[in-house]
Symmetry: C2
Subunit: 449 residues, 2 copies
């Protein structure tokens, strides 16, 4: 039953656009879900996409615009004038409208806002623009259903019908007092089953989760996940109900955050996708590679400092990639677990017990791997002292790498820096150099070159 986008269908649409065959285009597109139309537009050229946006009704295209890729949207909007953009904005929920306007250039923003006919809508949007993008205020929409605690159930049903027009999904009905302060909530089910002559004050639920406009997006996501909420009301500094955040925005938020952390761990900055352009991809990947290169050159420098070893223990140099790999892998493992623990808010142990655990883990892993190296040394007839040197180095490198991997993200987090930056190339590079230095230093101590 799902619509499946096909190459044939896209080509047909392209042909119809070329022929300016509007009737046929409308016939094909009008029945589609806006998310499907967005998927088609992502396949079209900018001109073709703009043509279709201008052709379709703005109540449809407003939703389509919210679904297409951010870069594409920016370009499409550049092809529309302020009046045309305002028409789209008029049809959007306030949260989407504010997001779109925030993406526009400063000079056109004011013009678009002036062109919005519904002044209340414009006022709501301006209010939302004040908040930080990643706060509850930035994520919330103004659309919701609120009733006064002093109303009767019948009056409330009436009011609900009129307010309901602007609200796609009701979730909860929020109850406020005369000053607009949030007092509680009511489900549609409760309202239907309540006696008709009752007052809201008699039937509403006083227990209601809410967040403040300044609550961070992470915190909103955490609360909504923990309590399985589908919407959460947002209050201002005075406790007045000013909006609500719905789960669909939080789903997008969670996915984007997870993607960002994942890319960071893989050494990709900026939010890039596989089908982005070469320049964007290079900008996201090259800086991390340069970091890795500098680390590698640092390792060259470290090894030059130990070049006396080349005379008698050349074989040690064969082991440097092994040492670097161990240091890098352990560092990433440790930091990834911490970063994820911080993101989930599941890190409850004290710093000391963390330390104890990482040291124990490092000892277990280090001894196991050290023994494997001894076996390898025995089989390949390495001088025994060299085997011991490599094994001891692996153990030490693992311990140090685990501690760096654990504490760097914790320290960054405490200082308010995103700890995810500490995973990936950052940790591998620093651990590479440090590990190689430690390796040769230990070798020098044991082998005495």
């Amino acid at each position: 039953m799902q619509f499946q986008i096909s190459k044939d269908f896209v080509e047909k649409i392209q042909l119809l656009v070329e022929e300016h065959n509007n009737d046929e285009l409308l016939l094909h597109l009008e029945e589609l879900h806006h998310a499907d139309i967005a998927e088609i537009l992502d396949e079209l050229s900018l001109d073709e996409a703009t043509y279709i946006i201008k052709l379709l009704d703005s109540d449809k295209t407003a939703e389509v615009l919210m679904e297409i890729d951010e870069d594409d949207r920016e370009k499409v909007l550049q092809n529309l004038n302020a009046q045309e953009i305002a028409d789209e904005i008029e049809e959007m929920d306030t949260d989407d409208a504010a997001d779109i306007i925030a993406e526009l250039d400063r000079d056109i923003q004011q013009e678009v806002i002036n062109n919005i006919t519904d002044r209340d809508h414009a006022k709501d949007i301006i209010e939302l623009l004040r908040y930080d993008e990643d706060s509850a205020g930035g994520l919330m929409a103004k659309e919701l259903i609120k009733v006064n605690e002093n109303w009767s159930v019948t009056g409330c049903m009436e009011e609900m019908r009129s307010q309901g027009e602007n609200v796609t999904r009701v979730h909860s009905i929020y109850v406020v007092d005369n000053k607009g302060k949030l007092k509680g909530r009511l489900s549609l089910k409760d309202l239907i089953t309540a006696p008709k002559d009752a007052h809201i004050a008699d039937v509403y639920i006083t227990k209601v989760d809410y967040v403040n406009v300044h609550t961070t997006g992470e915190e909103v996501a955490r609360i909504m996940q923990k309590y399985d909420l589908e919407a959460i009301p947002v209050v201002d500094e005075l406790g007045r109900l000013v909006g609500r955040v719905t789960i669909d925005d939080i789903v997008d938020f969670i996915r984007e955050e997870a993607e960002k952390d994942y890319q960071m761990a893989a050494g990709i900055s900026e939010d890039v996708q596989a089908d982005d352009g070469l320049i964007q991809l290079t900008r996201a990947r090259l800086p991390w590679l340069i970091l890795g290169l500098l680390g590698g050159l640092g390792a060259v420098y470290v090894m030059q400092g130990f070049d006396e070893a080349l005379k008698d223990y050349q074989v040690l140099f064969f082991f440097t990639p092994l040492i670097a790999a161990m240091a890098g892998n352990v560092g990433v493992q440790s930091s990834a677990i911490i970063v994820q623990g911080l993101a989930n808010d599941s890190l409850k142990e004290s710093l000391f017990s963390r330390l104890l655990k990482e040291v124990s883990l490092g000892l277990i892993n280090g001894i196991a791997l050290g023994l494997l190296v001894m076996v390898f040394g025995f089989i390949t007839a390495l001088p025994q002292l060299v085997s011991i040197t490599v094994a001891v180095s692996i153990l030490s490198v693992i311990l140090v790498a685990a501690l760096i991997g654990t504490f760097v993200p914790i320290i960054l987090h405490k200082r308010g820096i995103d700890p995810a930056i500490a995973t990936g190339p950052f940790i591998t590079t620093s651990n590479d150099i440090f590990g190689i230095f430690l390796f040769f230093y230990i070798s020098k101590l044991i082998l005495g070159f």
Copy 2:
């Protein structure tokens, strides 16, 4: 307004458990949200947690059990007998109940099911146990509100009140025909605003997204995200409505999948958390380190094969960690982008254009980094031919690593294997060896040792 768990509070609860002060315990815990109680239980010892589970009402503890850590839950359930578990199951939604029963040992499963008093509930649970855990059938709950298309609006309101008791959140009312086939949906709002004497057939919406019991969890998540759905009905092979999947389960599913991919990229298998035990953490981390170790030993072997270079070009060996780091970083970058593209279903380019793009990217990055190495060589007075060798090797290694990183996950995906396994240690290790081999091979060609 959110409950904040504190050390003092946990200690107070522990003291009350020790004193068997049930009245006080109930006083403290009864008013709390089940997710908060779960958070407290996670801090307690197994015996203390079991004590509280036995003390509280099963309508509360049923929900608490769903929220606590899976390992803890398993242990708590081992302290309950079949009748006590059945009491908990009785209070759960069918999807949660089926998940819990699936976690039990086979021999106790049957006994628990036999102890469930509500036979319809038991039947529903048994039906759900048939489906794969990660399919729509395994994710869905049987609780939903369905009405027959031939009913009147008034009759429907009546029916809804009685069915509604078992359903926490209504979302949509589903419309079926006499054979139970899904025909459409109806919102509570539509029902309230419809004329009382109308028939459901006149007012329902025929356009309804649905999935089949065998649809994969990934696909369900994709559809619900794409169309911003909060619930989706599930039909069987004959198109009959058999359950629905709600967004809260999908939110958990998305988060778990993202975490799995992230851990895989960081070289951590199994689903571990920072506060898991040493054995579990070792089991999740050591295998990947052994893989890295074997890779490192492989590199030793490769370099031994090129040991003639040691006579005249010892400096080359200082560059092996650099080459390995470049190969590893590029490989992870490329594979992470592909894995994410596959997960998002946003990979629309053809294989050939992917190839072209990766080669172009590799050329840009490789030339940039190669030039940097030339500059480094100039400053540190490296023999010019050595600088050229390293630069050319970096370019080649980046190209090869990018291709491996791109195509390994694509091939794995085509063969039905989770491509995420190709990120992290797997790709870094193979790229390390390959990169080092390529480096010395190119060195031999250029420098002729």
